[in-house]
């Protein structure tokens, strides 16, 4: 529990003071008051780190994402997979006329339309997958210039993240396009 709560701190702070803080908590005892105190100070350290970054010369990344881009790409893929499969089967069944698939897809589509949350998850998942895939690629740098502070968004390229990000973007665009087209047809009809 003690080791877990020190993980609330930024990595650099934790590497320097984490063991000492854990020992002190072991000596004083872990109470709700101690937990709140540590959580409050961890939040203060994060704020302080972000402020230092914004003051100039620093760069900000989402630490776990930056260190494990392939893991985040895998998570994005898992989030995207059901929607990707549904879109692929829908295209095969309704656009390319694979009759054997229509019988399979019709009940699924009807069920999804009756359970709104599934519909919502299906539409939202490409956006969520895009964010998860892209997070390890982004780094915000703030530089001090004579004209003022300048924020630069750096992008690194990791093949798996880029491919899944683009796939999520494509599927999201197809879904939104489909929803808009249906809305227009309904209004028109």
């Amino acid at each position: 529990m003690t080791r877990l709560i020190t993980r609330l701190y930024p990595r650099a702070w934790r590497e320097r003071y984490g063991a000492e803080l854990s020992d002190l908590i072991d000596e004083t005892g872990m109470t709700p008051r101690v937990a709140i105190d540590v959580a409050r100070d961890a939040a203060r350290e994060w704020t302080s780190q972000a402020r230092l970054g914004l003051a100039g010369g620093g760069s900000m990344v989402i630490g776990p994402a930056w260190r494990h881009p392939q893991l985040w790409a895998a998570i994005a893929f898992i989030v995207l997979a059901p929607t990707a499969l549904f879109v692929l089967l829908s295209i095969l069944a309704y656009q390319l006329g694979a009759a054997w698939l229509v019988d399979l897809m019709d009940p699924v589509t009807r069920w999804m339309q009756s359970v709104r949350i599934v519909d919502l998850i299906l539409v939202a998942s490409p956006g969520i997958a895009l964010l998860i895939a892209a997070a390890p690629l982004l780094r915000l740098e703030v530089h001090k210039r004579e004209s003022g502070r300048e924020a630069v968004l750096g992008v690194r390229l990791k093949a798996a993240n880029v491919i899944i990000g683009l796939l999520a973007l494509l599927i999201g665009t197809l879904l939104v396009g489909h929803i808009l087209a249906e809305s227009v047809l309904q209004v028109g009809g």
């Binding site: 003071y17 803080l21 709140i36 105190d37 540590v38 100070d41």
Partner: protein, 100 residues
């Protein structure tokens, strides 16, 4: 123990504690509670300690087992004297005004 607490600024309390000699985290916590009546939380203590170290006012000593003592630096001692001087002037002014 009196309800009056001379200050609750954890950085100042730690510097006063370290002015008596090097101490590790738990010893500082007990010392501050003894002389100021303030029970610092572990997060508050290490938060203040890390800021004091970053500003060069305290420095770590080699670890003794699992514990690492800290001591006041020369710059820290000068800063503490200045802060206590300011506090002393504020207290003297306050006492003079309420006594007038």
């Amino acid at each position: 123990m009196s309800d009056f607490q001379p200050t609750t600024d954890p950085g100042l309390l730690l510097m006063i504690s370290l002015a008596a000699g090097p101490k590790h985290g738990h010893a500082m916590l007990l010392d501050v509670e003894r002389f100021a009546g303030v029970r610092l939380g572990p997060g508050t203590l290490y938060g203040a300690l890390s800021r004091l170290e970053a500003s060069g006012q305290v420095e770590p000593l080699p670890a003794e087992g699992r514990r690492r003592p800290y001591r006041l630096t020369g710059a820290g001692k000068a800063a503490l004297e200045q802060r206590l001087g300011n506090l002393q002037r504020a207290v003297a002014t306050g006492i003079a005004r309420v006594s007038a």
